[in-house]
């Protein structure tokens, strides 16, 4: 083993372990982000605060409200006496939806033409659309129930059935748990951010503190310096991957269906793109802050254009083309497929190839820009 290389790696590790700030960043931040995003970055809408104006005050109206209560999409937060109250609650954001049951609900129901008003705060389209479909679902189910009851009461044996029944089966994530979709993304983001930021700041710090001048004058070859500085972060990134996978699996119940070895190898390939970006940023930036900022500038588009939060299918064509430039995009496809679907390598080979090309390309560009010199 090259002893110069080993010395650089050992020195880098000593520095990392003596610098509390870096250590916290490496050990705590990934887990913190995983918990933050695992719980907050979710599209599962639950417990929408609902305001109710029941003008009917009949057993029938109470039955309708009970069916709302039974589903956990809504939480009846307010029972009010006027439409003005509803308006006030929704404008204040205290209630996100409201149900108005008219005074003649019970009579109309027996006549078969009851109407209920449902008011929705559409300012957040994601939760509004979920709330809307939930409300429709609840009302329809309630209506079907009422019909069945009525037929039963008239002694008819007829069972009510919709003419077409769609039977839905959801594969891979049957409960549609957002966390299972988010955690692979979090792994990708953490690997990228940690690798890029730590690499960039650790190289720039040598320049900021003047230690680079001493390094330059040693016989260390440029590639040895690059590999020696990056290696510790590859090793740490490896442990971060394991750490986040473990917490994702045992805490959030995210399945690991694919080959664990393959997951780790491909994660390290992806890590290399992060290291490359960090190294590249370090050749542009003069201070650690500048380096940090440069990395963030690449991190944000990479998060938004990779399908992390927003589906790529929903993007305008131009942005979708742009997303092909984001290495994170390929990694997300790979890691989600491996974790949730348990596919084999040949199913994702295009993405693996694209990601590997990016890793090699970015690293080469950064290494070519990297100069073991002061100017």
């Amino acid at each position: 083993m090259n002893s110069r290389l080993m010395s650089i790696i050992r020195k880098e590790f000593i520095q990392i372990f003596r610098d509390t700030r870096t250590l916290i960043m490496i050990l705590v931040i990934p887990i913190m982000q995983l918990f933050l995003l695992g719980y907050s970055a979710t599209n599962d809408v639950r417990n929408i605060p609902l305001a109710v104006l029941d003008r009917s005050r009949s057993p029938e109206s109470r039955a309708l409200l009970d069916s709302y209560r039974a589903a956990d999409y809504f939480r009846i937060a307010y029972t009010v006496d006027s439409e003005a109250d509803i308006e006030a609650l929704i404008s204040a954001g205290d209630a996100r939806a409201a149900v108005i049951i008219p005074p003649d609900y019970a009579q109309n129901l027996s006549a078969g033409n009851a109407r209920v008003a449902f008011i929705l705060d559409g300012s957040d389209p994601t939760s509004a659309s979920t709330a809307l479909s939930a409300a429709q679902l609840i009302s329809q189910a309630h209506a079907t129930e009422l019909l069945t009851e009525r037929f039963a009461r008239t002694g008819s044996n007829l069972r009510v059935r919709p003419p077409v029944e769609v039977r839905t089966t959801v594969w891979y994530n049957p409960d549609l748990i957002s966390a299972h979709f988010m955690i692979p993304g979090v792994i990708g983001m953490i690997l990228y951010a940690i690798a890029a930021i730590l690499t960039a700041t650790s190289v720039v710090r040598e320049r900021e503190r003047g230690t680079i001048e001493q390094l330059i004058v040693t016989p260390i070859r440029p590639w040895e310096l690059i590999v020696g500085k990056l290696m510790p972060y590859v090793i740490l990134g490896f442990f971060n991957t394991i750490e986040v996978l473990a917490v994702g699996h045992w805490w959030f119940g995210m399945p690991i269906r694919g080959d664990l070895g393959l997951i780790i190898v491909l994660s390290i390939v992806f890590l290399t793109t992060g290291l490359g970006i960090g190294l590249f940023a370090s050749t542009i930036a003069n201070t650690q802050q500048e380096a940090m900022l440069t990395v963030w500038m690449t991190l944000l588009p990479s998060i938004f254009l990779s399908g992390f939060f927003f589906p790529l299918e929903a993007m305008p064509t131009f942005l979708r083309w742009l997303s092909y430039l984001m290495p994170l995009r390929y990694y997300l496809v790979i890691i989600r497929s491996l974790l949730l679907k348990g596919v084999s390598l040949d199913m994702i080979q295009t993405d693996v190839l694209a990601m590997s090309l990016f890793a090699v390309g970015i690293m080469t560009a950064a290494a070519l820009r990297f100069r073991k010199r002061l100017d």
Partner: protein, 334 residues
């Protein structure tokens, strides 16, 4: 045959419109302490950085121990010990860890580095502080650590960029004793394997703004605006002003200075504590000595002593710094 450890020719380096180094050539012999002096911004640091290959020259060549610094970089650098102007050890690492790191990356094996590091730490007097983080060392100790890490691989050429700037006088003295000892005892520097053969001599290039330090060098190059405008032994440099420096003591100083300036043969007047050093034109010392005392007394000044004095290096550098000498390449050659 003279053995040159450093041969640099026609070095040039521009930063934008700033001509930091403008055609510097210098040769340093084995066993020589070469001083680079000059005011801030004269180009000393850039010159040293070009010599070690930390900067790419716009023009010119550098050979260190026979290796071209740009083409045989690795071989050339394995002969160099370099102490930069800024503290450039790792603050998180202890004294010994720093030495070890720089020893290993410069090629010492795992069995060599420890005895060598301890020997060098003892040499600079840091052995008692070997486990202290470098970030917690005082200014003088930091410089000694830098020197130790530059010396640990027993380099043949030591480049020190203003090593004593901001260091207290006692430590400065210590530091110079170390440098002088190093050059005087090549045995310390040769590896045990080559003990039987001719010990290899060490050369030192040191930049400094202090004239007392310059006078300790074997040879001094005076830099101004990116050029070496004078280069000689301190004695020869001083002798260029022989007979042209007068020392004047008396009171009040402002009258003494004023009257001295009015004399047509006086080129410059500088205060040295309670005395004035007056530089006169070539061969005019007698004229000035004969007239100055009476001139001063005629306006109410008082002269304690007026005599011809041996020039010090400071006089030489002040003379060199004057505009009239800046353009000509060797203005003071007689």
């Amino acid at each position: 045959m003279t053995n040159y450890l450093v041969q640099a020719t026609g070095l040039q380096k521009h930063f934008g419109n700033t001509r930091a180094v403008e055609g510097v050539s210098l040769n340093v012999k084995e066993g020589e302490i070469y001083g680079l002096v000059g005011s801030d911004g004269a180009g000393k640091t850039t010159t040293i950085r070009l010599l070690v290959g930390a900067l790419l020259p716009d023009a010119g060549e550098v050979e260190i121990c026979g290796y071209n610094i740009l083409k045989q970089t690795e071989q050339a650098r394995s002969t160099i010990g370099y102490l930069s102007q800024r503290f450039s050890m790792y603050e998180e690492l202890t004294v010994l860890e720093n030495i070890r790191f720089f020893a290993e990356v410069r090629g010492l094996s795992s069995t060599e580095w420890l005895p060598r590091s301890m020997e060098i730490l003892e040499f600079v007097g840091l052995d008692k502080f070997k486990d202290r983080p470098a970030g917690q060392l005082s200014g003088g100790m930091r410089q000694k650590l830098g020197l130790a890490s530059a010396l640990v691989t027993r380099p043949r050429l030591l480049l020190l960029d203003e090593p004593t700037t901001g260091v207290d006088p006692v430590t400065r003295q210590d530091f110079w004793q170390l440098v002088i000892k190093l050059v005087a005892q090549p045995a310390l520097n040769s590896s045990p394997a080559t003990h039987n053969s001719q010990p290899e001599g060490v050369s030192v290039i040191i930049s400094t703004p202090y004239m007392d330090e310059a006078s300790r060098c074997h040879r001094v190059g005076f830099m101004k605006s990116g050029r070496i405008i004078a280069e000689d032994t301190p004695t020869n440099l001083r002798s260029r002003l022989n007979g042209r420096i007068l020392e004047l003591r008396g009171s009040p100083l402002d009258i003494l200075r004023h009257i001295a300036h009015q004399n047509e043969y006086v080129e410059d007047v500088q205060a040295f504590g309670d005395r004035l050093h007056i530089r006169v034109q070539e061969g005019r010392a007698k004229d000035v000595l004969g007239r100055l005392k009476s001139d001063i007394e005629s306006v109410g000044g008082h002269v304690d002593e007026l005599r011809s004095a041996p020039p010090v290096l400071e006089d030489v550098f002040i003379a060199l710094s004057d505009h009239e000498y800046a353009s000509a390449p060797h203005p003071l050659k007689t």
